[in-house]
């Protein structure tokens, strides 16, 4: 499995949001971290990759070119967790998972489906809430349900738009660990938009740093997360602590 994104451009109306996005090819088993300040185009890029938004350029996954195969076939392989969590209605998480699976005609029997939903809820610590109305759940739990909805589809390409922004310290780690395990086990690919640079450095195999709809830097974390890049993109002054191998820490000293 291999994802290749080349010369991707996208517009809202006449306004160009993404300019020639290109980043190194992503192989199976890799988690890509998409970084960048607010309004840099991360969500827009996610929507293009998921086929929800039309774009120009090449998105090739597993020999399929999104622009050619059409969105229906594309959606069989790709699942997105949008930045907005599920709406706080009286629906229960189980009903939402169930209807999503059925509306998309996922090939599970009722028994298999309920077992699958249960195991996903278990992994994400949602078992105690599975039959509660969504509007009674906390923001973080609803975000986890958004993640569960992407997991139920068992995608080959998993797109996560800020999957951990509402989560506490522990679940942030568990979620990324879970994503990494899933991706590594079956050689799949995941792209996660993140604001937490420490987490990104720790869990992602490839980082793509964006600003104003352009890729400023891409590559392994030690190449991307350097003070010059961060100053240029985020306008912050940083010190990077590499004393613990595998756990780089970015200290933000102040805004520039």
């Amino acid at each position: 499995m291999r994802l290749s994104v080349k010369n991707l451009s996208a517009f809202y109306g006449k306004k160009q949001i993404l300019h020639d996005i290109t980043f190194p090819d992503v192989d199976g088993g890799m988690v890509v971290g998409l970084l960048g300040p607010n309004a840099s185009g991360k969500s827009t890029l996610m929507k293009c990759l998921s086929g929800e938004k039309k774009s120009k350029g090449n998105i090739i996954f597993d020999d399929d070119n999104l622009q050619e195969v059409g969105s229906k076939k594309w959606h069989e392989k790709v699942a997105t967790m949008p930045q907005t969590p599920p709406a706080p209605t009286a629906l229960t998480p189980t009903e939402l998972m169930w209807s999503t699976a059925r509306a998309l005609a996922l090939p599970y029997s009722d028994k298999e489906l309920s077992r699958k939903i249960e195991s996903i809820f278990n992994d994400l610590g949602l078992s105690d809430f599975q039959l509660d109305a969504l509007h009674t759940l906390s923001g973080g739990k609803r975000q986890l349900i958004g993640l569960a909805l992407a997991f139920i589809r068992d995608p080959e390409l998993l797109l996560l738009d800020e999957p951990t922004s509402a989560l506490d310290l522990r679940w942030r780690m568990i979620v990324l660990e879970l994503v990494k395990n899933k991706v590594q086990q079956d050689g799949r690919v995941s792209i996660a938009a993140l604001h937490d640079l420490d987490l990104a450095a720790r869990y992602c195999d490839l980082l793509v740093l964006m600003k104003n709809g352009k890729v400023i830097a891409s590559g392994p974390s030690e190449e991307v997360l350097i003070p010059e890049n961060l100053a240029r993109v985020y306008h912050v002054e940083t010190e990077i602590d590499l004393s613990k191998p595998g756990y780089p820490r970015i200290d933000v000293v102040g805004a520039i």
């Binding site: 699942a79 997105t80 967790m81 969590p85 209807s99 249960e118 809820f121 278990n122 994400l124 589809r153």
Partner: protein, 358 residues
């Protein structure tokens, strides 16, 4: 590291399947209860009326119409049955279009009536009553529903055009619907100004909503329309449930939300147009029937769609029975009673639910 990351609370037995199927069974049970109540209410509605048909006579007359005296046969087959049945099919139609509109517009106040369907029907009816009281060779009983239907259907077309032009944006559709309501009301008021007292009374009477003018033809037309549309609604129950998880979620799974919205709005406004053109604007049903169903059955549209149909049919059927029995010898227009029956029931359920959840 791994031991810290293991989530707490694992290793439960497979309770989800059990609990979920228990919940589903309870909801099916509630649906059956509603169906039973509807049959009972239909029966009582057939029995209700001034001419003193006994239950035994009704049963005989239903099984073997020839066994009844001609007078009773006419009362049963040409008055009681069509009146009782039109209540149910109109209720069902309004309930179905109500629940679907509420879901696709994600707005608890939405109904085909907020899309202007009923106001346009009133406008059509006003034109019929005020401007065309008699057209040569056309029976007067025919003009009114046809013009009401034309009015309602043209409002559906307008809404459809707006949905297409706006790319299915929710707010635009709702705002345009409200604007359409005001526009139709304004034009209809113009006609009312020039109408004579007699015509004006007819318009008011029609606007209140009234089941007694309907016969078998009307029952058949509304039933066919309902039956033609219901399978599409059933086909969409999963999608509609998924949509309750939010538009972002639906779009991210590849659902074409704008297209779904367009389809649902077309079919529910057509259904509402047929429902109101014969009986007048019984608007409240399409709003409250679905909400009662929601309170009883939750948001799973597999249950909610049939539930909204049954609840709305039930309310209108009860109202129809009451309209004949509340004041002996007088038939109160059913449009007045739907609110009188529906609001207390609705309030009761709302308060009960609030009490349970807090």
């Amino acid at each position: 590291m791994a031991h810290i990351l293991r989530p707490i609370g694992m290793m439960q037995t497979s309770t989800l399947a059990i609990e979920f199927s228990r919940l589903t069974r309870r909801r099916v049970f509630i649906l059956s209860g509603l169906l039973g109540a509807l049959v009972l209410s239909l029966w009582l509605d057939i029995l209700a009326g001034p001419s003193g048909l006994s239950a035994g006579q009704v049963i005989d007359g239903l099984i073997n119409p020839q066994s009844l005296e001609l007078r009773y046969k006419i009362i049963l087959w040409d008055v009681r049955l069509p009146d009782a049945l039109i209540a149910i099919v109109v209720g069902a139609a309004l309930g179905l279009s109500g629940i679907e509109t509420q879901t696709v517009l994600d707005n608890p106040l939405a109904s085909p009536f907020t899309l202007g369907v009923s106001s346009a029907a009133v406008l059509g009816a006003s034109v019929a009553i005020v401007l065309l009281p008699s057209v040569p060779f056309v029976p007067p009983a025919f003009i009114l529903p046809v013009l009401a239907l034309l009015g309602a259907l043209s409002s559906s077309c307008l809404i459809l055009i707006v949905v297409r032009l706006s790319g299915g944006a929710r707010e635009t559709v709702i705002l345009f619907g409200i604007a359409l309501v005001f526009l139709c009301n304004a034009i209809a008021s113009g006609f009312h100004l020039i109408a004579d007292a007699d015509a004006l009374q007819q318009v008011v009477f029609w606007t209140i909503g009234n089941l007694t003018k309907a016969g078998w033809l009307e029952v058949t037309i509304v039933t066919c329309c309902f039956l033609a549309i219901f399978p599409f609604s059933i086909k969409h129950v999963w999608l509609l449930t998924l949509l309750r998880g939010g538009e972002a979620h639906a779009r991210s799974t590849g659902v074409d939300v704008s297209r779904l919205r367009t389809w649902v709005i077309i079919r529910s406004s057509i259904l509402a147009a047929f429902a109101v053109c014969f009986v007048g604007t019984i608007g409240f049903i399409g709003l409250v029937g679905p909400h009662i169903a929601r309170l009883l059955l939750g948001e799973d549209h597999r249950m909610l769609v049939p539930g909204a149909v049954l609840c709305s049919a039930l309310i209108l059927s009860i109202a129809s029975g009451l309209s004949k029995t509340l004041i002996p010898g007088v038939i109160i227009p059913v449009g007045i009673l739907t609110a009188v029956v529906g609001v207390p029931l609705f309030l009761f359920l709302l308060i009960q639910r609030r009490g349970r959840s807090s």
